[in-house]
């Protein structure tokens, strides 16, 4: 009913290939955009910004980076957190060496460092695949975290080995550091995530995306039809690491405010991999859905007992939370092994043909 496509005729190839062939999709996205850009920022409390809105966006971006590599180009990676770390440390060094630099520019630049490192650790992908490649990227994970700990220049010889985000301004308002307001930070994150998402959607629909998908589905066949595997895989590593690096810089500069090397250890890599898998590999929307489930939902669940006035201890809530989120993950993967994005796609299809199923 709501999703009836009757009457929406495509009269040109251009219309047929549009990003939103169904008008309702565009309307729905528009509503979400209004929520994200206008309604949330003006109604959210400091708590909602810091524990839900900002982290969900940042995790979704990191997962999007991983999804380019794993979901589209088929190269399994366990080094996401380390590449995020490269972005964060690069951004920190850029801003402390050149304090006059605009923080947003620094965040975009720091992605390039991460992309470079990503390409280096992507070279083994030319010879090995699947789980073997996962092990090679795991090496990046261990090596880089070790480097963050041992190379004191990276954290400006700070005695505790941690990096602290300096207060920096853009156009007279604080953007990073403790003096920045959550709303400013949210808009910066939202802006960057929006730009990156548009970029990713277009990349994956275009020539590169098709090349990656061919590589993912069968690399020998891809090579036979003339795809340069080296180019395809290394570009995937570069672009994926760039996005992940930007997400890492945002993670520390727009959200955490301080970071120790072990923040970028393997649990973070796994968390992002889970977001990508539960959201749906090979989809852009899935990253956002996955991030909401993994990052946002536990926060909401933690609030529930208080909001409903159920007096249970905070530790018990935490235990219940872990159990509930765990079983939800299992539940969603059983009803739709391809992730939440696929689940949404099925729901949408059903809505389009409703009330007359085939």
């Amino acid at each position: 009913m709501l999703y009836r496509t009757a009457g929406q005729f495509k009269t040109s190839y251009k219309a047929d290939q549009a990003l939103f062939p169904v008008r309702q999709d565009a309307i729905l996205l528009g509503i979400i955009m209004v929520f994200a850009w206008v309604i949330f920022p003006f109604t959210a409390s400091e708590f909602a910004f810091q524990t839900m809105l900002i982290p969900v966006l940042i995790y979704a971006l990191a997962s999007m980076g991983l999804n380019i590599l794993t979901g589209y180009a088929g190269q399994l990676s366990l080094g996401t957190a380390a590449f995020m770390g490269v972005g964060a440390y690069a951004c920190y060094k850029l801003l402390t060496i050149m304090p006059w630099m605009n923080p947003v520019v620094a965040i975009f630049l720091s992605g390039f460092f991460s992309a470079g490192i990503g390409v280096v650790f992507g070279i083994p992908s030319l010879r090995i695949k699947g789980f073997y490649l996962a092990i090679a990227t795991l090496a990046a994970q261990f090596f880089l975290v070790w480097l963050f700990e041992k190379w004191a220049w990276l954290y400006n010889y700070n005695a505790s080995g941690a990096i602290q985000v300096p207060n920096t301004t853009t156009l007279g308002t604080y953007v990073t550091g403790p003096l920045a307001s959550s709303m400013t930070q949210y808009y910066v994150v939202l802006g960057i995530v929006t730009v990156m998402t548009i970029l990713c959607i277009n990349l994956t629909r275009g020539n590169l995306g098709r090349m990656w998908k061919a590589t993912r589905d069968m690399d020998i066949a891809a090579e036979l039809i003339g795809i340069n595997l080296m180019k395809s895989k290394l570009i995937a590593f570069a672009i994926s690491s760039y996005i992940v690096g930007v997400a890492g810089a945002l993670y520390v500069f727009m959200w955490k405010g301080a970071a120790e090397p072990n923040l970028f250890d393997i649990p973070l890599s796994f968390e992002i991999l889970f977001i990508a898998i539960i959201g749906g590999l090979g989809s852009i929307l899935g990253n956002f859905l996955g991030a909401i489930l993994i990052v946002g939902l536990p926060v909401v669940l933690n609030l529930l007992p208080d909001a409903l006035g159920i007096p249970i201890s905070s530790a018990l809530v935490e235990h219940l939370n872990i159990m509930i989120v765990g079983s939800l993950i299992v539940f969603f993967l059983i009803i739709e092994p391809h992730g939440l994005a696929r689940l949404w796609a099925l729901i949408r299809e059903k809505l389009i043909i409703w009330p007359f199923p085939h």
Partner: protein, 432 residues
């Protein structure tokens, strides 16, 4: 996509809670960790803190007539959850107790903006002792640098240190690295050889490589700065490699009864410096038994209540309640706010008489804080494991703070520059 509505619902729920949480009394939340990898050490501390506050509520009806709402927010020692708890509680809270170096690091820069005192008793960044720079942070009654200094003093009292070899087994983490500058400074002064041996977070339970190094090096003493599973790992490994236990000294967080109970008699002679002591005969213990345990309000048990960590939890709550009481007396109101508590924490005066009055005899050394001195430098005692519990084996020791006052000021200034613009409280004089 409908998940977005969940966010909206959550935002609404938060707003609701924000207004609903204005409870009667003083809201002093604790960012507890009863879950996760460090829960074993967290639970006795949290229980001690909670039981003391529950006792005050039951016995005296709170502090100065205002009941204490001592809510816990579970972090599992995770920084992310910690910041979540901080954001959730900061609206109405008069204090934040972050309970982890990671959380302290993140929350510290925000306190100047949010105007809420951080109480980090015996942990956190040592230069926080400089109250001029760190107006909102308190690591009373002793910081890590105090601990390092007292351990070296104790070793010196056992014999000349020059030419001796001291190994420093520490967690490779901001917490473990914290005392290194002081040890290095003292090593240069006293002429001992100082070797840091880091233990990675992932190797906490498997320290065979580190102990092999210790065996080869044959140090005269091993000093440990461990936490969580690392302590038990190091103590069992030391027993296994037959390292003489009486030459093995830990910081206060490395003196957990349960870790030593694992090895029992084999651990005899192991020492830990501490600013708290479980004096089971102290009146406060009887009060807690009467008002909290017998009333069924406690989550603790007999063994745990005899331990060092439970007693430390009591002391931590006692410090907070002293701060609250000082602020109430100064401002003439029971319902103090965060700003007033900051003043109170700056004006704690724990004299011997006051300690006896509170029923904490022999559980904490006397100390006082001031505007410029946020630590108090209480000093402490050397505790020794006797196979079943800890005994005091030294007199009250006091750290030689003058030895590192300049270093603290320098580090504090560095921190302030890195976080510029950082307001300092120039009304304080530098003396403490």
């Amino acid at each position: 996509m409908k998940h977005w509505t969940k966010i909206a619902a959550a935002a609404a729920a938060t707003a609701l809670i924000g207004s609903a949480a204005i409870a009667e009394g003083l809201f002093a939340p604790n960012l507890s960790y009863r879950t996760g990898p460090f829960a074993a050490t967290g639970i006795p501390l949290m229980n001690g803190q909670k039981d003391y506050m529950a006792m005050l509520n039951a016995r005296d009806g709170g502090i100065g007539g205002a009941p204490i709402d001592f809510a816990e927010c579970e972090t599992g020692y995770s920084t992310q959850k910690g910041v979540e708890c901080y954001e959730k509680t900061k609206g109405e809270a008069i204090v934040t107790q972050p309970w982890s170096t990671g959380i302290t690091l993140q929350v510290l820069p925000k306190t100047n903006v949010d105007n809420i005192p951080i109480l980090a008793p015996g942990y956190g960044f040592s230069p926080m002792m400089d109250g001029k720079t760190f107006q909102w942070a308190f690591n009373t009654p002793s910081g890590y640098w105090d601990g390092a200094d007292m351990i070296v003093q104790y070793l010196e009292s056992q014999g000349d240190l020059s030419g001796k070899k001291i190994a420093f087994l520490h967690l490779d983490h901001p917490y473990g690295k914290e005392p290194i500058p002081i040890f290095e400074q003292l090593a240069a002064e006293k002429g001992f050889e100082f070797t840091p041996i880091p233990v990675g977070l992932k190797e906490m339970q498997n320290q065979s490589a580190q102990w092999l190094q210790i065996r080869r090096m044959r140090p005269d003493n091993v000093i440990m700065w461990g936490w969580g599973a690392m302590n038990a790992g190091a103590i069992t490994e030391a027993v296994k490699t037959k390292y003489p236990m009486d030459q093995f000294i830990g910081v206060w967080w490395s003196g957990h009864d349960a870790d030593l109970a694992l090895v029992g008699d084999a651990g005899k002679g192991y020492k830990s410096i501490s600013w708290s002591f479980p004096n089971l005969d102290a009146p406060v213990m009887a009060d807690i038994k009467k008002h909290v345990v017998d009333a069924g309000l406690s989550d603790s048990n007999e063994t745990e209540m005899n331990g060092v960590f439970y007693a430390r939890g009591i002391i931590i709550s006692a410090i907070l309640s002293e701060g609250i009481a000082a602020a109430q007396a100064e401002y003439g109101t029971a319902e103090i706010n965060a700003e007033q508590l900051r003043w109170g924490l700056e004006n704690i005066n724990m004299t011997e008489e006051r300690i006896a009055e509170l029923g904490l005899d022999g559980m904490v050394p006397p100390f006082s804080t001031s505007c410029a001195n946020h630590t108090g430098h209480s000093g402490g005692w050397m505790l020794e494991w006797n196979g079943t519990g800890f005994d005091k084996v030294s007199d009250h020791m006091t750290p030689n703070v003058d030895g590192y006052r300049a270093l603290a000021a320098e580090k504090a200034a560095e921190y302030a520059t890195a976080n510029a613009p950082w307001p300092t409280n120039d009304a304080c004089d530098a003396e403490s």
